[in-house]
Symmetry: D2
Subunit: 285 residues, 4 copies
Amino acid sequence: MTKNTATLLVTCPDQKGIVAGIADFLYRNGANILHADQHQDAENNLFLMRVEWDLNGSAIQPDNFAERFDEIATRFDMTWQLKLSQKRPRLAIMVSQYDHCLADLLHRHQSGELACDIPVIISNHRDTERLANFYGIPFHHIEVKKDQKAEAEAAQFALFDSLDIDLIVLARYMQILSPEFVKRYPERIINIHHSFLPAFIGARPYHRAFERGVKLIGATSHYVTEVLDEGPIIEQDIDRISHRDQVEDLIQKGRDLERIVLSRAVRWHIENRILLYANKTVIFD
Amino acid sequence: MTKNTATLLVTCPDQKGIVAGIADFLYRNGANILHADQHQDAENNLFLMRVEWDLNGSAIQPDNFAERFDEIATRFDMTWQLKLSQKRPRLAIMVSQYDHCLADLLHRHQSGELACDIPVIISNHRDTERLANFYGIPFHHIEVKKDQKAEAEAAQFALFDSLDIDLIVLARYMQILSPEFVKRYPERIINIHHSFLPAFIGARPYHRAFERGVKLIGATSHYVTEVLDEGPIIEQDIDRISHRDQVEDLIQKGRDLERIVLSRAVRWHIENRILLYANKTVIFD
Amino acid sequence: MTKNTATLLVTCPDQKGIVAGIADFLYRNGANILHADQHQDAENNLFLMRVEWDLNGSAIQPDNFAERFDEIATRFDMTWQLKLSQKRPRLAIMVSQYDHCLADLLHRHQSGELACDIPVIISNHRDTERLANFYGIPFHHIEVKKDQKAEAEAAQFALFDSLDIDLIVLARYMQILSPEFVKRYPERIINIHHSFLPAFIGARPYHRAFERGVKLIGATSHYVTEVLDEGPIIEQDIDRISHRDQVEDLIQKGRDLERIVLSRAVRWHIENRILLYANKTVIFD
Amino acid sequence: MTKNTATLLVTCPDQKGIVAGIADFLYRNGANILHADQHQDAENNLFLMRVEWDLNGSAIQPDNFAERFDEIATRFDMTWQLKLSQKRPRLAIMVSQYDHCLADLLHRHQSGELACDIPVIISNHRDTERLANFYGIPFHHIEVKKDQKAEAEAAQFALFDSLDIDLIVLARYMQILSPEFVKRYPERIINIHHSFLPAFIGARPYHRAFERGVKLIGATSHYVTEVLDEGPIIEQDIDRISHRDQVEDLIQKGRDLERIVLSRAVRWHIENRILLYANKTVIFD
């Protein structure tokens, strides 16, 4: 029952004939299209598309796609990626002490909501080790000592390399990554921030939301870029609060937001639904 | 600045090559695609598509479209409609005494949110006549006397015919239409029901919601079919209530839902975003 | 840091002087009120109140409350309950094979969100035994064979009795309880139904929601009464769906609703925030 | 059917006996309490209360309240206000060219949702004059010329004075008020800002939301203080957007948010449900 599909993600300058070109290519190669969605950004003259087809019975296969598609890609000046459902993305989850996002991701993974492998959980604490064990995920404790972040990150990089990690999920990992870390994994690190960005960038957003007297709290999942909390937003959601809610209530309500907003982002990334441009995300249906 | 586009809505059995066929047709005819969205229903083996292109500079024009498209339509056994942005749909709004949905629609129409003409407002009361006048819309009072619904509807049909009405919007029109009325305007009557259907079908839904002690109230816009409140749902939304809310509060909160849920349905219909099948709606982006 | 408070829940016919009577009683006895909330139902001439005070430094204590409060209770014809924060309610969770609500409740319990004890998890399957063990909760497998429901329920009752159970939570327990079961635990069984009741009462609500083409799905937590899915509603919430969502998507999205809607109901019950009348709930702030 | 009630709003240092004192006072004076709600802020040691009673049949009347209540007010060091349902607050609405919030407020006023008088609409443009006339509200055009804001505000103050204005509603009034204006009407000016503050303070929030690529847009109603967009927040709400939404779509969706968020704030203010402290609002039920 595991599906066997290919997903093509395309970005190129907008012009006439792109859809015809791609659709005709797939048709000539006997591909049965399962989903297709596209977006045109008139202001930036950009065309973006996601198309998924059944590899069973299709003449285009992973090993001949690049060669066959080259003519079209060149004609339209495309940037493209081909993703295969049977090559499951490999996630590393990084976490500190709060375990609610981690527990949520692991439960979803176990239920089959997240079609990925999770070869490692890395934490600067040992609090979540038992949870990782319960779900059968290898746990690595990498302490982050003051002034020794570089050493810690080197150990993390070694793990990512040896495990062939595709995506790093910061599931309430309370450390700021170095610029080197961020540069090393462009568009491959997803973070959950506990505010509706761009409100309350930085530390202690629930405390500042409480101070400001807002009536809504939020959470934001985004790709990590070099500027803190300024990366492309993938998903946001909010919950209503009132004057009765103290900081602790905000934190408790926020946990539900964080779980849901992070898990959606991870799922969409895994399902190859996200394209990035102009520091924004396109989320394909 | 009024746009000059054509929108093609297609339904056909799903098979390979449909997108390629349509896209290639548009490309060969020099059409600049502005939006395209499609949906496949695997269970029903159906393919549905909406594609909109700029008529300026395109070789396919309203008067030659059918002829040119015929070969593709036949090949794929398509049901299709072509809609032109410059042929604005003509709405009749029917209303009784509650004027909140009417006032909302008229204000949106005036602001340019609804790209339609409204040649007539019909009511079985005179309460909304002044409002209609303010917005410059002709108002017709057609009384619906007991046992004389057929006469009233005959007068309504005459108006619809003479005014070339495309869509009938029941903006809290508190009369049940006869089966003849409904049959005469298939997929062309939109109603707002003040509950989240299928809960509270029929009369006095707010009172029954209050009785049942629900924590959410809702509103549903749908196409009218012969079975009361069973037509294809276009849009729904809800608001939260509490034990403090009395029936009057439900009614008041509900007005905001009704306004928004009805106006979205009308706008999507006008923008040719809706396709119907299996008593359901597909709402294209 | 565990609080030591008493919560008084009062229902009585509405009349002048009730608040003055209660407030004066608490003041004379040196009670420091932490929270107070009240509700008046004019239609039913009912007064309902929840008041919580600090037992530390208060002259009224659990053992003398009834005697001292008797005069006021009698004067106003009150029905009242006194709940103590240090006597944590004891929950039995019943579950079948779907474990998402159970995993959610156990994680919240562990995080301190739910101030209760959970001395037992009962299931008619063994699927959740490992999860129960992980969280250190005793697991009892009680098979429910066809035509032997009475025997199974007798075993359940024995467990509830021996464990002094206060509240039974049906966390997707896919069995219908017998009338005897329901009668035995009035206002003490909370169920999660996977629709926005009263829509889709009964079996397979997601399938029927999909069939009907609704644009919102919901979940409802309620007290179980003898009529299926007709008990007092505690909480409801919804999520938006589109024509792209298949039944499996509804089920997946619904899991998040079920988790949140059930956990809120359980928390409010545990925090003694709920009063019942006229088959409705009052949820005190 | 117009009600005849008094509403007492109280703020004082928290201590034992306050509720007993107020409740006993009302009881001794034969007042029938219709609604009571209170809030305690432990951190700031503050007690806040709203209590509404029926003046019919009560011994405490507007003209003897201050004298009779003085002993209690003094004992507990209270700040208090007494509001009478039959003295309807008098609103001035200020608006520029966008008329959606104005049209919404006027329609709600006419439907009886807003229990206030609106003796004047002031605008720096003439666009909304016809709408004001339709609803029978006097319209004053006060131009705000560059470098002549003081003159314009003087004319506005004269109107407010002569009309005995209680509350000034900025219904998308695109001018920044002078510090003198703000100081003159403390806690008596309500503004609608078209973002979920504190995100996108200042000009062009929809454009900046679009630039940032947020997935939610919002609106915030707040009291105006001397620092732009930093006043106490009364209400906020959001709507979901996607990559398909252009700035114009954000503006259109935002209009619905602005209408609802502003009208709620105005209604709560009129119903004397709002108390202010620490630059925050308490919204009583």
